[in-house]
Structures are given as C-alpha cells and as structure tokens.
C-alpha cells in the first residue's frame, strides 16, 4: 500500500507533463486569431506570433499594408480574446466559439 501510495503521487506529478500532447492554450488562441483574420479577409504579411506567460497569451503580426495585428487573451477560463488590426477591433469574445464556428458548415 505504501508503495502504491507513493506511486500515485509520482503518477500525479508526471501526469501533468503529458499535457502538451493534449493541446495548449497558446495554440488554441493562435488558431482562433488566425481564423478571425482569414474569415475577415485580412491580407497578412506576418501571421501573429504568440507567447504565453502563465495563462495570458499575446500575439502580434502585421498586414501587407503595414498595420499591426494583435491578439490578446487574458487569464481566465473559458478563454476570451480580442483581435485587432491597427485601431479596428475584429473580434472580442470567447476563443472556443471561433474554433467551433470554423469547424461547422
């Protein structure tokens, strides 16, 4: 029993390490941001490059005509995000809703 109990603890700590294969918040935000840009026919020069700090994901890119693209997803569950091009806000809402919409006809 002692061995089993110790191993449960070991299993828990190592199980957390499996998480990357189960998906990532950064990838989710990046995909959803790109979905918004493509759906709204933004001419992208540099697709948003993302970075994650804790639960916060921020991405930045640029358009062919030199405007800045920003995707910002603050901490929180479920995740929300804002997608802006220059001073225009293209989307402000749940991240998963964008992915779900893109996956349906």
């Amino acid at each position: 029993m002692l061995v089993a109990g110790l191993m449960l603890l070991a299993g828990c700590s190592q199980a957390a390490a499996i998480a990357p294969v189960s998906g990532g918040r950064e990838a989710l935000v990046r995909f959803a941001g790109n979905d918004v840009l493509v759906a709204q026919q933004v001419a992208v020069l540099e697709a948003p490059v993302c970075a994650q700090a804790g639960e916060v994901v921020t991405c930045s890119g640029s358009t062919v005509d030199g405007q800045e693209i920003k995707v910002a997803a603050p901490a929180g569950d479920p995740a929300t995000m804002t997608v802006t091009v220059g001073s225009r806000t293209l989307y402000d809402g749940p991240v998963q809703a964008v992915v779900d919409k893109a996956g349906r006809p």
Binding site: G11, Q14, A19, G103, P105
Partner: protein, 586 residues
C-alpha cells in the same frame, strides 16, 4: 526550359525499365506523357466538418467546401510576384506522416484505466477509437497512394517522411503493424485469442471506457456515444490490405517509440505485464504495479517481488486475457532494426536508418532524396522521462557539421518534436549531456539559409510557423495525427518560382474513408467510424486540432537560398522519371 534530350530520355527509359523489370515500350509511353496535376481527393476539393447533434452531445460529421492554397509571406517579408504560377517547376513532392499511434488495444501492456484518475492528463491512455488504428493508417496510406501525383504540378511523389510516434505502447506487434501497413503488407490487427476481442471495451464493468455494445452507465454513454454492436469483432478481422506508400519512406523516433506512453521509463514489471495474461481494469492496481516498477527499477529484490506478483496474480484490479508473446516490449535499438525487415519497394531498407546506426546505436541519420535535396532525421526524444524533447549536444554538433557540408543543396530537417515542445531537460542522475532547446535549435537552422523546412509532429495538430532572420528563414511544418481528430496528414511540395523565390506547398490529407460511421466491414469503413468517434472525444478539443487556414493548405514563400537555375530541367526530369517508374512498378 529544356528537359532531357531524346538520347537522354531513351537512356533513362532503358535504365529504369531494367531496374524495375518493366516493358521499355510501356514505360517510354508513360514517361512521354507530360506531367498533369493529380485529380485525387484532398482537402483542396472537400473538407470534413462537424455536423448536427445525433444524440446528447454526440455529433456526426459532414462535408464542407475545399480550401484553396493561402500564400504566406512571413519569411519572404514582402508581397509575392503575382505571375509566379506561370513559371513554377516542381523540385520535390513528398508525403508527410506523423503520430500514427498504432495500437494493440487488447494488450495487457496498456494503461487505459488511468483516465479514471484524471481524464484530461491521461487522455492519450485511452481513446474510444483505439481498436481501429491499423484501419486508419491503411486508409491514410490509401489517400497518399491516391495522391501519388501532385495535385499542384503533377510531379510524382518522391518520398514520404514519418516523424515519429508510430507504435503507441512500445510493443513489437504495434511496430510490425505500422511498418507492414506503410509497406503494403497485409496486417491482421488482432492479438491474443483468435476471433474474440478481449480488450477493456468489451468488458461491461469498464464503465469509464466507451463500450460499443452498450455505452450506457459511463461518461461516454452520457455524452451520447452510440451503440455499435459488433464493432470490436469487425475491428479484429483481417487482413487489412493497405496499398502501401507510393514512395520510399523515412522514419525518425517519437517519444512513444522511446518511453512508456511517451513519458515514463519502462519497468521490468511492465515488460512482464505486456506479454502476460492479466489486463488492468482498475487504475489503482495499475498505478501501484506499473508506476511502482518505474520507481523501483534499480532494485533487484523489488523486481523479483513484482515478477512473482505478476506471475501469481496477487494484485486485485486485473482480468485474465489470452497472453501473446508478440506483444513484447522492444528495446531502443530494435526500433531501428525492425525497419530493415521491409520490401525494397517502396523501401528503402532501413527507412533512413543504416547499418552504421545499428552498429553505433546512433539514432539519427541523413539521406539524399535527390541530388539536390538532403534530409536530416533527428532523434529529439528524451531517454529518461517526459513527453517533450530536446536536441542532445552530440546531434546538435553533428547537424552543424553536416549542414556546413551541404550548402549547395536544399535541406529538410525531420524530428518528432516541434519548436513549442523542445524544452525537456530531464537527465539521468550524474549525466552531464547538454540538451539544446528550441531557441538554440532554431538559431542553428537559421545559420543555414539552404534549410528550407523543418517537418515535425508531436502535438497532434496542423500548425505552420515561420522562422526568419534578416531576409532568410525557413518554415516549420507540423502535421496532425492519425489517432486524434482530424486524423489528417499532408503532402508537401517544394517549387522553384524561377524569380528568385521558392514556395513550399502544403496540402492537408484526410484518410480515404466514408464521412459517416457505419456497420461496414472494410478497413475504410472502420477508419470512417474511427474518425467520427475521434471527433467526439471531447477531452481532446478535437476541432482545435485542425489548426487555422494558415496552418492547412498553404503556399509558404521564401527567398531562394541559392541560384536554383543550377538545378537543370534535365536533372529534374530524370528524377521525376525515376519516381514515375517506381510507382508504375508497384
């Protein structure tokens, strides 16, 4: 633009006909036909999307419109020449497979009950579609065989790249099934008792699993997973006759080909369990035995106790199944050795690994796909613990040396891990090996403008990232998996735009199977059922894994790293004729 001379063409036909034992006249007629874009089905014509709710939260799948190529300018850094399509020529057309996760779902060498402990963390331990991985892979091979001619230029597929996680639970049988399916050797995806499915999905009291005979009473039933009577028996009927890949294929290690579930060291207890007659039903028993063994590997006494425990069945939480010695857990070198048991067509024998690899134990290699294109196959898997990886210093230095000697070629790099998952610094106690992470590795590749693409997998999603420095750079192309939805792979084509730029076209490929789950018995029917089940495996956030349109069908532009006119049309025609002859010979 001048290809082979008449004399050169005839000499080429004669040599290829002799090499592949083909009729010179028939081969000459075939090769005299100009290249024309392939018409086989891909996501250029049709996509697969989420359909209406069928029951509870369970949804079917439907077809959606095709997706055209989207140009990506990130590395080029400017708009592209709008006339480039008029003058483009194909340099190389490839298939790319990754994360096939072939599973022997009846094996005791699995740890499915761990999802009860934490479904999210242990999601890869059990999927409702686990019994149909061979069928999915065969249907994917069929799709790639159908796409043996480029849908863009008509170039023949010259090679296929396999970026790891081929055998899910380190079993000899899974390893053989994966190799045989890619080679076109028939596979009967059954183990243990003939004609009877003995895995946990046939156990009425495994309520935490999807049980197709009657899913009621557990999470999968609550979600709305349907009854599918007879599914498990259909899944183990054989043989599954894949057509085989249409081109030579090259493989690298994935973390599942290295560690248990791609994460844990392999204990002596687990090795015994895999070929034994007890399969776990309860996660508490499994955690004690398998993870206990993991921690106690260094103790001979503990190993003896555990072996006796395995032999005499002292631990509760197990059920008796038919043992099968073919489920033996392979050693690291045996993964390479298995790739030498393979036919010469599609080949190559070793699939990238060479006798030098077997002799030295080095698990990385290089090969020339054509006189102009060199590929480097790396092993980024951690040997100690954890699913993610890094580039060991020995490989890092080797790659730099090889790239220094390859400046006149276009270079591709293969690895299992991608730039978001190269941070695992786990070492054995006392080890001093330097493990290089993503930032250093990307910097290394950026030192060589002739590195144009890095193909990888691991995260089971479609993703394309740009890496650039100044006016040069390369594209990182991550393909999805055959286990999780969308169960997609891809074809990749390098194209010379003849204007000082080149393009890399990526085309996402669905496996060649029906959209809807069915009671059909063919391997494509079972693959279609697998995809629908995978699309409802909610814990995996399946539709996120499609990636965005910028990660699927794309034209990835970049500056030509050197004067591509040094690659003559005649050389390309000879290369394409060789690939076409090989396809005809199959």
């Amino acid at each position: 633009m001048s290809g082979l001379s008449r004399r050169g063409f005839l000499a080429s036909v004669s040599a290829l006909a002799a090499a592949w034992q083909l009729s010179p006249a028939a081969l000459g007629t075939a090769l005299a036909q100009p290249l024309a874009p392939g018409q086989a089905l891909s996501t250029l014509q049709r996509t697969i999307l989420q359909g209406p709710v069928a029951q509870g939260s369970y949804r079917t799948l439907v077809t959606g419109p095709g997706e055209p190529y989207i140009p990506r300018l990130d590395v080029l850094g400017r708009t592209a020449n709008p006339d480039r399509a008029r003058s483009r020529r194909s340099l190389l057309y490839l298939g790319h497979l990754s994360d096939m996760h072939v599973i022997d779902s009846q094996s005791p060498g699995r740890i499915e009950p761990m999802i009860v402990q934490d479904h999210s963390a242990w999601a890869s331990a059990f999927h409702p579609q686990d019994p149909m991985t061979v069928h999915v892979l065969a249907a994917m091979v069929k799709a790639l065989s159908d796409l043996r001619t480029s849908p863009l230029t008509g170039a023949p597929m010259a090679a296929a790249m396999v970026t790891g996680d081929s055998a899910d639970m380190h079993s000899d049988l899974e390893l053989r099934w994966y190799i045989d399916t890619l080679d076109g050797v028939p596979v009967t995806p059954n183990s243990g008792l003939a004609d009877v499915y003995e895995g946990i999905q046939s156990w009425a009291d495994a309520t935490w699993a999807y049980r197709p005979e009657d899913p009621a009473g557990g999470d999968f039933g609550d979600y709305g997973f349907p009854r599918m009577p007879g599914l498990l028996e259909r899944a183990i009927r054989g043989p599954v006759e894949s057509p085989g890949l249409p081109a030579p294929w090259y493989a690298v290690y994935g973390n599942h080909d290295t560690l248990l579930l791609g994460t844990f060291g392999i204990s002596s207890q687990f090795r015994t369990m895999a070929v034994g007659d007890r399969k776990a039903l309860a996660w508490q028993a499994l955690a004690g035995d398998v993870l206990g063994g993991y921690a106690a590997t260094a103790s001979p006494i503990q190993r003896l106790v555990d072996a006796l425990d395995q032999r005499f069945g002292l631990s509760p939480g197990y059920r008796t199944v038919t043992p099968d010695a073919r489920r033996r857990i392979f050693e690291q070198r045996e993964f390479m050795a298995a790739h030498f048991v393979t036919p010469i067509n599609p080949g190559p024998v070793g699939h990238g690994f060479t006798q030098a690899n077997l002799d030295s134990g080095e698990t990385w290699w290089q090969a020339d796909l054509t006189p102009q294109v060199r590929v480097f196959g790396l092993d980024t898997c951690n040997q100690v613990a954890g699913p993610d990886g890094a580039v060991p210093d020995e490989q890092f230095r080797w790659l730099r040396t090889q790239l220094e000697q390859s400046r006149d070629k276009l270079c591709l790099v293969l690895s299992h891990h991608n730039s978001l998952t190269l941070e695992n610094q786990a070492l054995r106690p006392g080890a001093t090996t330097v493990l290089h992470g993503a930032e250093e590795f990307v910097d290394l590749l950026l030192d060589f403008p002739n590195v144009v693409a890095w193909l990888n997998g691991h995260t089971h999603l479609n993703q394309i990232l740009a890496h650039s420095r100044g006016k040069a750079g390369f594209w990182e192309i991550t393909t999805a998996s055959c286990i999780d939805f969308p169960q997609q792979q891809q074809v990749v084509e390098l194209v010379d735009n003849r204007d000082g730029t080149m393009s890399i076209f990526t085309t996402v490929v669905d496996h060649a199977s029906p959209i809807a789950a069915s009671t059909g018995t063919s391997y494509t029917d079972l693959a279609g059922t697998s995809r629908e089940l995978a699309a409802n495996d909610w814990i995996e956030n399946p539709f996120m894994r499609r990636g965005s349109p910028l990660d699927r069908n794309t034209e990835l532009l970049l500056p030509a790293p050197f004067d591509l006119s040094t690659i003559s049309d005649a050389a390309l025609e000879a290369q394409q004729n060789a690939a076409r002859a090989r396809v005809l010979a199959r």
